[in-house]
């Protein structure tokens, strides 16, 4: 049921299409005015199984550096990027499991995306979104987002995600919303009754449930503007209810399509002000998926065991990383092409690449593949490479939070000191 493009959506879209709008962003966001210059957004893009540090990180000096093969797709958008070299992840677990658990949490219980979603000044219908591409396929570890120490599952089905996020985009949904409102009110009342009876027992669980109910209720009850979401799913991708395992959206042959849909979804969600925090994961640690790159089918995890930096495996690893970074670049270019305030959407948005490992072969957490794009209107100067010589990656998490206007001094591990990354802003 849910996997179908809901009929009401389709009707809505048809009317827009008939009006001649084509590109995903043609037409303007009609949400109540948030002064464009106050907008702050962040997106975390997860790429699996680390990198080859020597072939990922540039060499040279801060403004004058050479980009090696693995990150070569980013050369054309270099002026929008800051390469963050020499950051390590400390404490916590080892290898893949340890890495994914700490990359966004700094080894704490809640990940930065969830945290920022709840603490950023601007309020949006969705505090944060967690999207995936084959992330839950044969894995219970993927994503990197956590709440109360428990993993938050990504939404891997782009149609489901679209329906969920843009339910309010449907002008016909008024009745739905008031109905939903009543139901949520009742659920909230029941929850409060339970809380009253239990006192401190199961407090965390119930508080989390409560917050979730409230956020959805608020979203459902707020007056929603309309938002142009035409252009989503141009290929007519659909999910077959008889595809039990793997699900249609987990099939390798749809990896690229689903990924594109999730990216477009993210861009729309940002443009429509649905959220300011998105986490998008391409597959998961120890990825099970094979991706066809230049006619060759490559499994990213096998490729990540590249042996030596000059082996054939290294070639595969480079190719698959380049493929993913082309897509990272797509996000950058799309946001850069849309005007906002005095500049573009990219100027108000940070996009950060993350991973579960540093060196894919050695399974370490050193010299992690972090690249920061955008944020020029937030104080980040692009076209730079910064080397932090083994400093803790949690300082990067702090810097990202600070750039989002959340003034914390630490986020997770502080064994290397508090504060953000020096020289970033």
């Amino acid at each position: 049921m849910k996997n179908e493009f809901l009929k009401s959506r389709r009707r809505f879209l048809e009317s827009i299409l008939a009006a001649g709008a084509a590109a995903p962003f043609a037409g303007l966001l009609a949400r109540p005015a948030l002064a464009a210059t106050n907008i702050k957004r962040v997106m975390f893009v997860y790429l699996s199984d680390g990198c080859i540090p020597e072939r990922w990180h540039p060499s040279g000096s801060e403004f004058n550096f050479t980009i090696p093969e693995m990150t070569s797709p980013l050369a054309s958008v270099k002026d929008k990027l800051v390469f963050l070299k020499g950051l390590n992840m400390y404490e916590g677990g080892a290898t893949h499991e340890g890495g994914i658990r700490k990359v966004l949490t700094g080894n704490g219980d809640t990940s930065l995306d969830v945290y920022l979603g709840k603490n950023m000044a601007a309020s949006t219908p969705f505090s944060s979104l967690q999207l995936g591409v084959c992330t839950n396929f044969q894995s219970t570890q993927g994503g990197g987002s956590y709440i109360n120490g428990s993993r938050i599952t990504t939404e891997d089905n782009p149609l489901n995600a679209f329906n969920r996020i843009f339910a309010g985009a449907n002008p016909d949904s008024e009745n739905n919303d008031s109905r939903k409102g009543s139901i949520l009110d009742t659920a909230l009342a029941d929850l409060n009754t339970i809380r009253g009876k239990l006192g401190n027992t199961e407090k965390v669980k119930l508080d989390t449930h409560l917050e979730s109910l409230r956020e959805v209720e608020k979203r459902v009850k707020s007056t929603s503007g309309s938002c142009d979401v035409s252009g989503f799913n141009p290929t007519g991708f659909s999910v077959s209810p008889t595809d039990y395992y793997p699900k249609t959206y987990h099939l390798e042959k749809h990896y690229e399509t689903v990924g594109k849909m999730q990216m477009d979804l993210s861009l729309m969600a940002f443009a429509c002000g649905m959220t300011n925090v998105i986490s998008l994961a391409w597959s998961h640690p120890v990825t099970a998926t094979r991706v066809t790159v230049n006619g060759k089918s490559i499994n990213g995890h096998d490729a990540s065991h590249y042996g030596s930096p000059d082996s054939g495996g290294a070639g595969d690893f480079i190719a698959i990383k380049q493929w993913h970074l082309e897509r990272y670049k797509y996000l950058i270019e799309e946001l850069a092409s849309r005007p906002e305030g005095d500049g573009s959407m990219l100027d108000h948005t940070l996009i950060l690449t993350i991973s579960d490992l540093g060196d894919g072969n050695r399974h370490d957490h050193k010299n992690m593949p972090f690249v920061l794009a955008g944020g020029q209107a937030l104080g980040v100067q692009g076209g730079r490479m910064l080397d932090f010589n083994g400093d803790a990656h949690t300082k990067m998490l702090v810097s990202v939070a600070n750039l989002m206007g959340v003034n914390i001094n630490q986020f997770g591990y502080t064994g290397h000191g508090t504060g953000g990354l020096e020289g970033l802003i």
Binding site: N163, I183, T186, T193, H209, H363
Partner: protein
């Protein structure tokens, strides 16, 4: 400066006793007659060295016809300095013994034009137990020098040809015609070579090339300056070539003919052969003139070869072996210092042997040639160490030196507290409380076991850092400081350790519940957020949090389901006729009781009645209420809160017990019988509860549930069999995958519900449950159709060889001894394996078509930093190698026979001495089922599944009670499950930790 002064004082005191070498440079030292002064032999004074450091030869220089050598002495308190010299390429000989403070020597017994090499070693003699012993340092660096002889006629010079060695024919002396040679032509007919003399030379197409004497004519002769470096006997041979056997040559040394030889034909002017000229010729040491007279031509001559007569013998044995215990600070490491005299000059090395206490001597190692001392470190206190040594060379070994031995008393000087805080606390906590996956040390264990584990496996990755002594000290420290010795009494409270909790429905439970609640088969829950999995279980109560995503999904699902529910027969919702007003008026409470699995409170009734009344039609009202119920936390969570029982615990309500029973055994909401029993207080005794449990276990849904547990317990669920490489494993189709999933269901349910139901049968079954596809895949005979039947099998059977188990614990392209071993340890023995150290590259060895899997993993046992953990893993996993990565049986891998022998260490406790050999999965299954370990472990796993909880310290009592019951019931699974429902842990809850 200070050092010299001190020694100077000692010297002055003893200066009266004889000739003394004064200290200072630039003075000529008298030779040979100098004897070391009489120093009082100190007895292990701490100011003098125990082991002698190696001196350094620093300078060599010449003056007139003398060579001066200088060196540094790194030690004080030396008895003597011994200087050795080697003339050219001869053997080393000691030429003088000097005082222990001397720093130079001038050698005046040298000849010009010859190279001399020098080296020194130091000596110290002292008293130990009133016996004198002598230590020697190893040899210093070597320095060489030659004083040029301007009058040397040797070519190419300036050194004469050194014998033993080669004398190249083209290197005749300088001096010219009539002096150094006689040649009939006036010029070099061969036109080769740099010299302008008339000797005929041409290229030698021989190994090493060079030039050869050619166009030899009778009457020609040549001279060569040679130097014999010792009196050794030499064998002389010549390298010649000739087309006809007409040549003849005479060899003279110092004008004396020593040999006269006919030159044979070799087949060509460049067909070179070596012929013997003279054997056992004794050439006295020193310079000589060699002359070659060509009696008859023609032949070619490349060189003459002078070889020492090698009488191959074993080397001379070393002697004067001494052993003593190092004083502080080396003593902390329990080091023994060994020293001996090297009496051979043809050894290639020394073999050192050691015996501990009464045991046999074993070879400790091979030391390099010319060694004279050794330190044996990191020894255990409380033992006697005995040593002997012999020299070895290519021929064999000398006899042994005499034995020297030392006793190291047992004295515990280890700083356990310091070691713990520096090396252990990071993982195990400052108070042994355990951090993350690393075990807490506060439990009571046998001292011996604890010390053994520490010694053999800790610290991880640096096992050799803590020896027996260190391990015992640490074990003592841990037990004294972290472990409370009182017996944990299993009282009522500790028998009911599960805290009050709310358990979020899993997706499967949600779907099953909808099916029973609304009579609808649905897949909406498939898209709900995936559960957090803890230790393999998806129903951990503490790990499930409701996010906004959950809320959105619940809303959407409820909307869909409610709409479907009202479009079908109302009879599935409530038993009365909803079109009748009285029924409709009761809908909220009647349906609500089913939805919430308990009666509604008055407040709740009013709340939902308001929703019902807000709609205009009956359908809409019903739909609205259903939708609202499905979003309520009272529906979404299973309540295990209970009511206070007055004894500090909470007794679950009758309805909570009903839910607990049904969700445990059939994975869905309580049916009307159960709800009725709860309503009438008929779940208020163990017998009644057990009776209901038995009823549930007879339902078909109980088998699905059993499979659900088993798949999670064994981590072998359908979606845990990862993708397989289609090229390597083309037969692993989706059909096989699906069949293996069903095999799990069929097998476990056959054992539990139709056969003996024992752990023994689960492990050791000699049959398999297969459909047609699996029968063919496993090769167990022909089966018709998709239905599963029981087939006898010889090379598989039981849990360990289930297709899903073998395929889940493997890689996409190969089997995996590691994964299978970890599976056994964690899922069948409840022994947690630590992950590899963070900085270690844990890449499996690459596929190698010439090796079996076992061979490729050899480094885990050969590298000691791997072996400490892998000794518990690899040898265990190899037992599974009879099955490949997709669970198919194999007797060969890459054409090589598969060896399925394995070793299970640490069956009962994690020490390597607990070692058991087995062959294949069947052997392993026998081992596991013979020990209580597996049965205990199943208990723990079922406990986790039943209560949605981990097993930690506070659960031990309850788990132990269950284990005892399991044993008492002969390990019957159904009996055990029933027993669980009668245990206090099932119906009582503890207050939550605040």
């Amino acid at each position: 400066m200070k050092r010299i002064m001190v020694l100077g004082l000692a010297y002055l005191l003893s200066a009266c006793n004889g000739d003394v070498d004064t200290i200072g440079e630039g003075e000529k030292q008298p030779n040979d007659e100098t004897s070391p002064p009489n120093i009082d032999l100190p007895d292990d004074s701490t100011n003098v060295p125990e082991m002698l450091q190696t001196p350094t030869l620093t300078a060599i220089s010449e003056l007139d016809d003398q060579i001066k050598i200088q060196w540094n002495l790194p030690d004080e308190g030396l008895t003597a300095v011994l200087l050795e010299r080697r003339v050219a390429n001869s053997v080393w000989k000691q030429i003088t013994e000097l005082s222990g403070q001397s720093l130079q020597y001038t050698d005046d017994t040298i000849m010009r034009g010859i190279e001399y090499s020098y080296r020194v070693r130091t000596q110290r003699t002292l008293l130990q137990d009133n016996q004198p012993i002598t230590l020697f340092s190893n040899y210093s660096t070597v320095r060489s020098h030659r004083i040029n002889d301007p009058q040397s006629t040797a070519y190419p010079g300036p050194q004469p040809h050194l014998l033993p060695g080669l004398v190249q024919a083209e290197y005749f002396d300088k001096g010219g015609e009539g002096v150094a040679y006689h040649d009939f032509e006036t010029e070099n007919r061969g036109l080769e070579g740099n010299r302008t003399e008339a000797v005929d030379l041409e290229l030698a197409e021989d190994a090493g090339e060079g030039l050869a004497l050619a166009y030899i004519v009778a009457g020609e002769w040549l001279t060569y300056s040679v130097f014999s470096s010792s009196n050794e006997a030499l064998n002389i041979s010549a390298r010649i070539a000739a087309t006809e056997a007409v040549g003849r040559m005479r060899v003279l040394v110092d004008e004396q003919v020593i040999a006269d030889v006919n030159i044979p034909a070799t087949g060509g002017w460049q067909a070179w052969q070596t012929i013997s000229v003279l054997e056992e010729y004794e050439m006295p040491e020193g310079e000589h003139t060699l002359k070659l007279e060509m009696v008859e031509g023609e032949f070619n001559l490349n060189y003459l070869q002078f070889d020492p007569m090698v009488e191959l013998t074993e080397p001379t044995a070393p002697s004067n072996l001494t052993a003593k215990r190092a004083a502080e600070p080396m003593a902390k490491n329990n080091t023994i210092l060994l020293a001996w005299a090297d009496n051979s000059d043809d050894e290639t090395g020394f073999e050192l042997f050691r015996a501990i206490d009464e045991s046999e001597f074993k070879k400790l190692g091979i030391l390099s040639s010319n060694s004279m001392q050794y330190q044996d470190k990191n020894l255990d206190a409380g033992h006697t160490y005995a040593y002997k040594i012999r020299a070895i060379n290519g021929v064999g070994a000398s006899i042994f030196s005499s034995v020297a031995s030392v006793v190291i008393d047992a004295v515990n000087t280890v700083d356990a507290k310091g070691i713990y805080s520096a090396d252990c606390a990071f993982c195990h906590g400052a108070n042994g409380e355990g951090v993350g996956p690393f075990p807490n040390l506060q439990r009571d264990a046998s001292f011996e076991e604890l010390a053994k584990i520490i010694e053999e496996t800790m610290p991880v990755g640096a096992v050799n850092d803590c020896d027996r002594e260190c391990a015992e000290a640490l074990a003592t420290y841990i037990q004294a400081n972290f472990v409370e010795k009182e017996e944990l009494a299993c009282d009522a409270a500790s028998s009911a350790p599960i805290e009050q909790q709310l358990r979020l429905l899993t997706r499967r439970e949600y779907s099953n519940t909808i099916s029973d609640l609304l009579g609808l088969e649905t897949q909406v829950a498939d898209d709900f957020p995936v559960e957090s999995v803890l230790n393999g279980y998806d129903n951990n109560a503490g790990a499930s949090f409701v996010t906004t995503n959950h809320i959105d999904q619940y809303l959407a699902a409820a909307e869909t389901l409610a709409e479907q529910a009202v479009n079908q027969s109302f009879s599935k919702l409530v038993s009365c006729n909803l079109n009748v007003e009285s029924c409709a008026n009761n809908f909220v409470s009647e349906f609500g009781l089913r939805a919430f699995r308990r009666p509604l409170s008055t407040i709740e009734k009013n709340r939902y009645q308001a929703l019902f009344d807000s709609q205009n039609t009956l359908n809409d009202s019903i739909r609205m209420v259903i939708e609202a119920y499905l979003n309520s936390p009272n529906f979404l969570y299973r309540s295990e809160i209970g009511v206070a029982n007055g004894a500090g615990l909470y007794q679950l309500t009758q309805y909570e017990i009903a839910s607990a029973l049904s969700y445990l055994f059939i994975g869905t909401m309580p049916d009307s019988t159960l709800l009725q029993a709860a309503a009438t207080n008929n779940l208020n005794s163990s017998e009644k509860i057990e009776a209901q449990a038995k009823r549930l276990l007879e339902m078909p849904a109980a088998k699905e549930q059993m499979k659900n547990f088993t798949a999670q317990w064994l981590k072998a669920g359908a979606n845990q069999i990862g993708d397989k490489d289609a090229v390597i494993y083309p037969s692993f189709t989706n059909e096989i995958r699906e069949s293996m999933d069903r095999e799990l269901y069929e097998f476990v349910n056959y054992v539990v519900f139709e056969s003996t139901g024992t752990v023994d049968e689960l492990m050791n079954a000699n049959y398999v449950m297969v459909n047609d596809k699996l029968a063919e895949f496993y090769g167990v005979g022909a089966v018709q159709g998709d239905d599963f039947v029981k087939m006898n099998a010889t090379n598989r059977g039981g849990l360990l060889s289930l297709g899903s188990v073998l395929a889940s614990h493997a890689h996409a392209n190969e089997s995996s001894p590691i994964k299978r071993a970890v599976f056994v340890r964690e899922r069948l023995m409840c022994q947690e394996m630590a992950p590899p150290p963070p900085d270690l590259d844990a890449t499996p060895p690459g596929l190698d078509p010439t090796k079996t899997t076992r061979e490729r993993f050899a480094i885990h046992s050969s590298d000691p930093s791997c072996a400490s953990c892998h000794t518990y893993i690899d040898d265990l996993g190899y037992g599974f190698e009879g099955f490949d990565g997709i669970g198919a049986f194999r007797s060969k891998e890459n054409g090589l026979t598969v060896d399925t022998s394995g070793v299970l260490r640490g069956l009962n406790s994690l020490v390597t001495t607990d070692e058991h050999n087995f062959v294949g999965t069947q052997g392993l299954a026998t081992l596991l089922s013979s020990s209580d370990v597996t049965k205990s472990c199943i208990t723990e796993h079922y406990y986790q599944y039943a209560f949605g909880s981990d097993v930690s310290e506070q659960d031990q009592c309850a788990v132990d009670q269950l284990k005892q019951a399991f044993i008492a019931d002969g390990f019957n699974v159904q009996s055990f499950m029933l027993y669980l429902t009668t245990s206090p842990a099932f119906t009582l809850r503890a207050p939550a930790a605040q």
